[in-house]
Symmetry: C2
Subunit: 212 residues, 2 copies
């Protein structure tokens, strides 16, 4: 592409398995249609569920049972490895702060860091809450541990994440993954086909390749 | 098919637009793979949301805005007409009771009645709450108004619906539409492709036709 094509905005929470699964696939889909992907980690549990006034999925009867069945099969359908770690006490605050701090310098590096952290949690099943863990992964990419750990405690960096979460809510993002492409909101990894439908056809009219 | 193939259980609430959209398509998908479809109307709002402890979708901030955008485009993608009636005070109690009562006598007639009621609500945008409206549609199929109206007040028929809702909850059905095929639960009209994937391949392994 010589022209700069409009990006696909990709919202995800590090602690969402469906967000991880989408992260493994969205770049390839975007690339097929010449679209960059703007990664936008946010905090589903801390803020968005409060705005919505609802409980986390895994605390919702019936739906939680469904998710237990659904996560591994969705990983199979996507051809992506998936561990199911215990998420008790796990959050993506440090991971998300590190992402936005690094993205100010180098978006590719920020995405690489996010991928490493997602794989640490969702492939290796290891907790990523601790800033030291985030620093480990950043260090493997050549980012100084000391600089990153200082950044994670910097009020300005905390504000970066807070603003990103507020911006997500302002754009009515309420789930992970959530895509916005050309102003069209699409929620759920199970709707990646809709992202692709829009990229290919630029409309929601039924076509011979609509998979429903 | 000479052998009796296992049915696709198809759960829906009459007042769910996605349930209506699925009803317009699931028979054709089942037929393509030689599977009958067992229609199982239930009451999402009255019972299931109580078990789950959650609010109706249209009262959930952010998600309600999404649904306003999503319903018409999903109808387009499915190639199915969709009106968006005011649902205030509308329920599918009489429609569901009539369905189960008629299904005891004639399953095809019960499905035809359900289709008429769904179209009355979701194509013509007219309320179907009143038992007299249900009787109108039944009469058009040759069912005696008097017999149907008597059945709708019969405690045994009320129990038929109550048992159906309890059975749905016991099978962990929590949304509309909801499919169970060979024990596999699939929630959402946007996942009709998964129902078809299962019918075609009998597994959740990724295949060249997986649309994600």
């Amino acid at each position: 592409m010589t022209e700069r094509a409009a990006p696909i905005d990709f919202y995800f929470d590090f602690i969402s398995p469906y967000g991880y699964l989408a992260a493994a696939r969205i770049g390839e889909i975007g690339a097929r249609y010449g679209r960059p992907v703007a990664w936008r980690p946010f905090l589903l549990g801390v803020t968005v569920l409060q705005v919505m006034g609802i409980k986390p999925l895994m605390e919702t009867p019936l739906k939680s049972d469904y998710l237990v069945v659904d996560r591994p099969r969705m990983a199979k359908l996507l051809g992506v490895p998936l561990a199911i770690p215990d998420l008790d006490g796990v959050n993506g605050v440090a991971a998300s702060r590190a992402f936005y701090w690094l993205a100010e310098r180098d978006e590719d590096a920020a995405r690489a860091l996010a991928r490493r952290l997602l794989e640490r949690l969702w492939v290796e099943g290891r907790d990523i809450t601790d800033p030291a863990v985030v620093a480990d992964e950043a260090a493997a990419l050549g980012v100084s541990r000391e600089t990153l750990e200082a950044a994670l405690g910097d009020p300005r960096v905390k504000d970066l994440l807070r603003s990103a979460v507020d911006a997500a809510v302002a754009r009515k993002v309420f789930g992970s993954p959530f895509f916005i492409v050309d102003g069209q909101p699409v929620w759920g990894v199970d709707r990646l086909w809709m992202v692709e439908h829009w990229l290919r056809h630029g409309s929601w009219e039924r076509t011979p390749d609509t998979p429903l």
